[in-house]
Symmetry: D3
Subunit: 331 residues, 6 copies
């Protein structure tokens, strides 16, 4: 079913319940409901920019599980390979948006989700990845449970065998596992990874790479793991509502830098995933690291200006931003 | 801390996430957040009518746990004995309000809650129940987990030792356990119960009591278990938005019936719990089964006309309804 | 300024703060804001049906006072004679919509309003009423304060002198004055009244008229006070959300009855005022008591199906209802 | 692209802007946005029940056009054959929900939509319908414009050639064309139609068929046009919020009747389209007219209890209603 | 009817449908409804500051048309000369508010509006403008359709004949016509214009005036077209949510500059129209270009801090800002 | 009942009705409802940080009065000493949040509130304050009415007699009384005050203290009135949505300064009260002026980032801010 896809991503998609109008959790009498999850977000960005993208996960066969699928389908993401289960729940997280000097806060309620209980026979990776150009997942997925970690290994092995490009976002989450656990499990995985997308902070937390500069971190990653390319997002927190945002990349041959944007943040969650989606689009569709980086930065800058984890931009808007910037009313 | 309370209830309080405007779950982009739980609801009704009422549960020490406590405190319910844990989650349920011929639907997401992981030493029941007039819990609590079932037994034993009146609502929930499990666990508990509140349907599902009439079910319950009194709520589902509502009671000596109301349902969840709260108020404060039944029916009729599980009526309103009914604007 | 008006009404317009979704007052975290007041509501109905209508009141010169004026102007009601004051507040009332068996409830917070502090010289009634066809007020206005009662007397005297038709709605409000006070003050006023609009209940409470039938009450009113006509609204409270609604009239010569409607009530507040507005429109524009009564009933039936006190129907809709009834989608 | 579809429908999908809380249009400060359109609604019902369904239309290549596509994709409807245009707008309609005795009202703002400007070469019907089991459209589509009428003829011709079952819903809309125009254009089309779904009222308005009973209308339709089957929905308007709902069918051999439901209407728009969707599902998947009729009635009864034109039920719910009815909370 | 007005403006008023909370169009499930239009906005500002202002347009005689009139009346704007039509629609536009680096976007859906189909005989300009001090329209109106362009010419001719001051805002809209069309049509119109309000950008796009400074543009405009005065708004886009805002004016004799404000933008749409309204108020009521400019800048600065196109400030607030600035809570 | 409290505060708690989304008052169709009042806000902050805190006021025995009590109880504030009255209303204020250059505005509607009509015998201060560590009120309370001023004197006298620490916030409100009245009444009160919390501006307006620096004002206050300590909040209004915030303190021996924060203001109302609450917590629980000042600044900085007057922070968050600042998402 997934044949012919440019990209297949694998991970958990969650219900996100966020307070309104900067209310604290304890003040909530109503919560906004969004759907998100790093690998889903990445698939959505790629699909919106123009690739055929699919998303695999395991969801309980309930209205809430279907709600998650619907939101992926709404963007045209292929969901035909989702595994539907009788057990487990939909992972959930609560989000409270901050305002300086109060940080935004996340409360995870994702334990015991259907995907964390995935069983070895449920996904036939070799057949699923047959004909897929690129497979992507992130460090969150193996952190969900031992079963999920096994599944990631199987998927990566199958992707390698199927000749897919393999993309990985470190995405270290301290509430899911320790730095040591992450390092131990992710290091061998790196052997098969082609593209690594991360932050300087995560590179240090997971692999202990502490470069003198962002550039040296990217270079170290590429060299240590034999990557085709590494890209790093750079966020400067001017305040909770204002950030500066850019990224760099290294492909073993040269360093790339892209535009830097001042963001008026509406919802920064999913910014990194949109960066990855933009990068993969550029890498797969344009085969050009500089274009990939530029598109990654612009797409993810725009993605942080709409509510929700998912990215609602179009290729036309991303190109427009790269060419003109954008502060006027377009009418 | 709980000394001097008229009533102490024990059970799980949950976050309730309900869709708006009769939307289906899959349509939701925002969910109303309420707090509810059978034993909390009962404590709130008693407190609003005038008793000193407390509620014991186990909650994680997070903003979401505090949110639950806040909602109990808002009504003046004593929460000083709540056990705060590092582990477990806040039980959650999703509610979709129906319209004929579509039933309202509940999706439980309450597994692994903090209370289901309660440990034997965490609540000092003898000291907690010292000086409390009445202890109440329901069939939901022991169904949560083996640990919770053990805790219910400990609580009931301690209540008996402390000379408390013991009140119990059968509240059979098929998604939590089988009828056989319920029967096996609840039958011995009945030995210590003084007041039993339930529906005809639950009496049959749990104890296999199938009377020729509501009255015979109440009589059978009192006689089989040596109760001081049993009360049964009667709901006739004219449609999803319109019900007829009343109840009966039997105290071993005589049968009592009360007023019957046509309900325009705003939110029927918690109706039975409000009935119990009204009954306990009448029984404890007025020492009169007929008054208890009348107050139970009227308080719970009113409770089904406001959004949320909790009851927001006052004694004055309940008395007013019993005396005048109410269809005019009061201005 | 008001010259050329068909109708000028005088009274208090208030802010109305109502809970949402059948929430109780204590549950509110947000309140809907409407503007209403018996005499304003009547002016709005007349204006929407096609007459030139004006409204006089006294409001504080604040944003809240302007808000009230804006809502009258929105419907095209002439507000050029409103008296703007430095003192006093905008009268306010809180509304909680009920559901059977819970009555809707009003909490008045209207004391000390600007109009209750009106001073004798502030309105030049003779010049204001010059050229106006009909003057209308209700029993609420003199009940606001002694100063307001004096003002009503001045207005009625001036209206008589100017040759206006004088219309009055009894509108007894027990929270504003006693039945004895109302009777004492309103009885002499009746001498100048031409049209009286009321309910059977108010006729009894204010004037002690207890007829054997609605018809006999109307006849008694016309005869006792030498009215040109009296009209009475009849509401049968099937439930809080469903009422039956009609009215009758008597003009000294014959009794009139009109259509009866089943109402699915969205907001019954202002129903009587819309009836009066419809009646005055029919009486002034069609000079026909039967037409006046029919229009009154239909306009006020429709007025109870939209949120807020004000009436948003059109003459076309009212005529349509009188001719066809209306249960289909009009598309 | 559409190959392998069970059903392909063709028509206009619109933005629907509806007032909230029974507000009149003039009261609106916010409007709910839904997407709907008879043929889209039918495709969605079929897809939700389990068929592979696609929808063809013409939309402008704007965010609003994409919004329409997204809502179809959200349900899994194939949208890959939508024609994207530079000209035209998205058809729009405004909806005001009524309450007795005030009818719900629709204001169409659909003129000049992209689909009304469709050009002959834009859809390659033969290739699109190749391998499709059933083609469906309704009387609204040819009424949109002469160009749309031409397109319907082309589609039906191609469907016949491709061996598709051809389904048609009369759906007469008086604001789009006269009864005479409808009759003239639709009569020849009937030659190719296999299944006709309609109301008694539309059968009379378009074809002048005035049977003595619903049954005789269905029989007359089947016989006059040589249909495989005709089905008629029956709605009794008890009030605006309460209807009785059922349907009948005739297949040339025998008459079928199904269950009748009392509806508490949340949103009756799209009820007929869901009936058609349910009927087609039953006809195509079960090959049984009685099953088709039962599923049609139950699915469309449920569809009228959620907000919006689209149907959000599942096959499991529809079957559950047919077996048990539904007035309890399912928990 | 319009006699005695200080200002009469002519143009299109539209429904504006905007997304909430910075949502993208594709995310919308509800849209805020506002009413706006350049010439209406200007009339509202003038009326709120204290002038008698009227607005002429052509609207369909539907609830949506009345909604537009209501919103003008709410502010006290005279609407008695609006032309009500059976044909045409209410022009509509969709607005998506941005956040850096994402621009705000407008989707126009205004084609085929009632005003674009205006016919020569429908407005009797000579009688309408008799006694009016100032007539104002903008470059949007003639761009709507050839019929509207003809009407603008008629209006300006009649205004000249009636001795009105004639005010014009260039308001170039690229989606309505080309720069060449605008130049060709507007150049002859300039002969009769007394006051021109615009931006540097529009002056260049329409008339090709490219000054070395804002001042030289204003001077060039006055001199080329023999204006009494020209005023130019200056906006510096620090970000989407923060702008710097001021303006300049030239009256043939001297150059005027005013205060500059940092704006925290809530809704910048209508800023220029409020500037014009403030300028006209100052020019007509104070007869002083410096005062006019100061009031224009302050009124329009405030107007950009409330939701919607319309201006809700008062003269007192505008004067207060000019005197004190304003960052504290006023309590 | 209040025995064992660390803190008892006395003052008025009001309903606050605020517009949404930066709407002006005249635009409101819905208002957010919060509860606030300087002394209540202070009690809430202390309670949330960990002290036992109570609040005394006088409220009418209505749903609105109960709503106020509920909101205090929700945070665990002891309300058992509230005086319930048959007369008076709940004080109310309307709030419109601004955006540069438009100031936020408050309209008070608090006259005639229940507390302003308090009578001498209603609160038994000696018994109430027995065992309380600290009594706090502010300059608003005596300004409410002569009766309230008398009550403040009684309370302070009783507090002195009971050996309570006495804390006072100047809180000058120009709409309640003149600077002269405030000075005359508050000066003698200062004799009994131990801790004074205020702004530089209020110190000047009430006591005419105009220091060369904030520090000199604090020193002058301590010395003139023999205080144990004075603390002053410092707010720099960068814009309406951005402020810089810090404070200083003086205890007769040395000057203290604390951290300074950039605030992205969500709701600045109650900022000063939270500062007081934080200061009292530190002073009472830590007995350390530097800690008190740090906690005051951090707690009040956080308090200005959530909607409503009340403070929803926790001690953990306050400590976290003092240690780490906070701009990242905490997940």
């Amino acid at each position: 079913m997934a044949r012919g896809l440019d990209l297949l991503t694998f991970g958990e998609a969650m219900l996100r319940l966020s307070t309104k109008g900067f209310a604290r959790f304890e003040q909530a009498s109503s919560l906004d409901l969004h759907v998100g999850g790093s690998e889903l977000n990445t698939a959505v960005t790629c699909r919106r920019l123009g690739l055929k993208a699919g998303f695999v996960t395991r969801l309980p066969a309930t209205s809430l599980g279907r709600l998650v699928e619907n939101k992926a389908r709404e963007h045209g993401v292929d969901t035909s390979s989702i595994v539907w289960s009788e057990d487990g729940r939909v992972g959930t997280y609560y989000l409270e948006l901050g305002a300086s000097p109060r940080s935004s806060r996340v409360i995870y309620d994702r334990a015991h989700s259907a995907i964390s209980r995935i069983e070895p026979e449920e996904i036939d990776w070799p057949s699923l990845l047959n004909g897929v150009r690129c497979f992507h997942t992130s460090g969150i997925t193996p952190a969900l449970s031992p079963a999920a970690a096994v599944e990631v290994s199987s998927a990566v092995r199958a992707a390698r065998a199927a000749g897919c490009l393999i993309s990985f976002d470190l995405n270290y989450r301290r509430r899911l596992w320790s730095q040591e656990e992450a390092c131990e499990l992710l290091t061998p995985l790196m052997e098969d990874v082609d593209l690594l997308l991360t932050t300087e902070e995560d590179a240090e937390r997971v692999f202990g790479i502490r470069g003198e500069s962002y550039e040296s971190v990217a270079m170290e990653l590429v060299e240590r793991f034999g990557l085709r390319a590494a890209a790093i997002t750079l966020r400067e927190n001017t305040s909770i509502w204002r950030n500066r945002w850019t990224g760099i990349a290294y492909d073993g041959a040269r360093l790339y830098s892209g535009p830097e944007y001042d963001l008026e943040l509406v919802d920064r969650v999913g910014g990194g995933d949109a960066f990855t989606g933009g990068f993969l689009y550029g890498y797969l569709a344009k085969d050009d690291v500089q274009r990939a980086l530029d598109l990654a930065i612009a797409a993810s800058a725009l993605a942080q200006t709409n509510p929700g984890d998912l990215n609602w931009t179009t290729l036309e808007e991303v190109e427009g931003l790269l060419q003109h910037g954008g502060k006027r009313i377009d009418r």
